[in-house]
Symmetry: C2
Amino acid sequence: MTQTHPQIPLSEVGLRPVVLREDGRALRLLDQRALPSQELWLEFTEVEPIARAIETLVVRGAPAIGCTAALGLAVCSLGFPEEPGAFRQACAVALERFANTRPTAVNLFVAISQMREVLAQAPTSTPVPRLREQLKTTAVRHVEDDLAACLAMGANGASLMPEGGTILTHCNTGALATAGWGTALGVIRTAHRWGRGIDVLVDETRPVLQGARLTAWELQQANIPARVITDSMAGALMAQGKVAAAIVGADRIAKNGDVANKIGTYTVAVLCAHHNIPFYVAAPWTTIDLSLESGREIPIEERDHNEVHMHGGTRLTPEGMAACNPAFDVTPANLIRAIITERGVHVPGELV
Amino acid sequence: MTQTHPQIPLSEVGLRPVVLREDGRALRLLDQRALPSQELWLEFTEVEPIARAIETLVVRGAPAIGCTAALGLAVCSLGFPEEPGAFRQACAVALERFANTRPTAVNLFVAISQMREVLAQAPTSTPVPRLREQLKTTAVRHVEDDLAACLAMGANGASLMPEGGTILTHCNTGALATAGWGTALGVIRTAHRWGRGIDVLVDETRPVLQGARLTAWELQQANIPARVITDSMAGALMAQGKVAAAIVGADRIAKNGDVANKIGTYTVAVLCAHHNIPFYVAAPWTTIDLSLESGREIPIEERDHNEVHMHGGTRLTPEGMAACNPAFDVTPANLIRAIITERGVHVPGELV
């Protein structure tokens, strides 16, 4: 028997962490460094502060940083020169700055390409006010497309979530990581709305603790039963038969189905394979980078080692200690049961 | 060619974290909660504070808590009644209190049994001063035996550490976890002294961060090259061929070779199996509990969830969030290449 489920109406989407101010003249970001203890919104109108917000994780999550770059350029362009040549030059510099913030998530580069394309397509004679309008239209569409993709992923993936089962997730892939609703966490949200009776194990996701801070907060707000665990606990819980499925997001997917995602994802995938637990990836179709044959070619960001050494103002390790801090890892396609996009449910090796 | 290596002389052992004060009238513990930022020694003369020191991780590590209970009883007995019946009763109550501190590490129960045996073997007529002397002798021997076992484990295991290789370890199994030198970290120390040119990857070991705080500190003091990683990074580094072997300690080993150890150990073992990397366990022979057929029977301590929720004074997760906090997990014998004890190098399934 196939059940039909209502679509989630846009009015019920809830939190949207990357938005234009009502007058359209500033970018508003929910400061993800301050969560869950504080809900702090920051406003931006200039390129460098927006680039720093991406670099310092005011906003993070592959789709969300794409949205930030798109809306960010639209907003910043209001202050760019009125002379078309200088305006285009300022746009190019801004987009170049945004492109140099974080290397791994492809969504950022997709958003930047869309904005570049607006400028490339517009005749040289196009007046600056018209260019600004086109940039804004494209940026807003980028964001709305991302939200629509999240809702479609939710509907495509929800029935894969085992009824009454405990779902493990890693990092934050919720509303905070996207234009709204979420990718992997969007699938979990939709499954919950559909009454599948799931509960969630949240990997805390060291070093930045996006799971403990952000995913836990979102699940609590959505009244979805959840427990936080350290990243080291998932294996033991799987061995006890306490995990029915795992679902994560993606920062970039190569042509062969290899997936780059938050550091620790690969370990979850290996553990799932060892325990024969389905491991799913949910991401918008734009996360697939057909220019890369395999995951080996995905650039992996090495972040500041102080993310490992410090927490808050407290140093955890001895002064002078060395560390590693790769922010992402690559999970090979053969460990992934399915990739869920807005287009459907895909076998990782058969994306193209 | 077999190389011969000098024994590590006792004079070069260095740090011993569980000792009697020079006058023999107090137990001195290096406060492991304060490391690495502070080297703070605490003194104890009474049962309840010693039990609380074990429970609150002033001292931790399976062999070290055994040493604490043994020396602790010897010291506390100086204040027990001079009447033999009352003295024996006070000893029994003290040992019972120590037995109820932490359930998983068997070494604690071995030490307690040895102390009980002293009292059981002494004729009822034995004067209290003589009983005190016997308790002290037995306690000191327990500690010296542990140190000797660590040095022997080091010598037995060092040549298994791949020459010039990177060794992954989890939690703290060094001097701080034992009477001195260490179990798994003792093997690493000895391999380093033998000039095997190894370097160490230290799992930070959430939630209590024994790796980031304690193992990193010990390795730094010993000038052994080391880098701290989050527990979620080991898999990615293995996939890149950057880990030559892993070695961990044990809190209890069942007859069939299953090993209970710090939460996250099982994940390291699964990752090693997936990448065909040797996974070793080093522990004194007394860690083997022949009364248990398999790891399923090992009691696993569930600790306060605030260890997951909080760091220092800062709350990581949202208020009201649920968590899990099993302090240990069980690694099945089939994932373990060898168990190293003071008696030699054993196949896990062939301990008896």
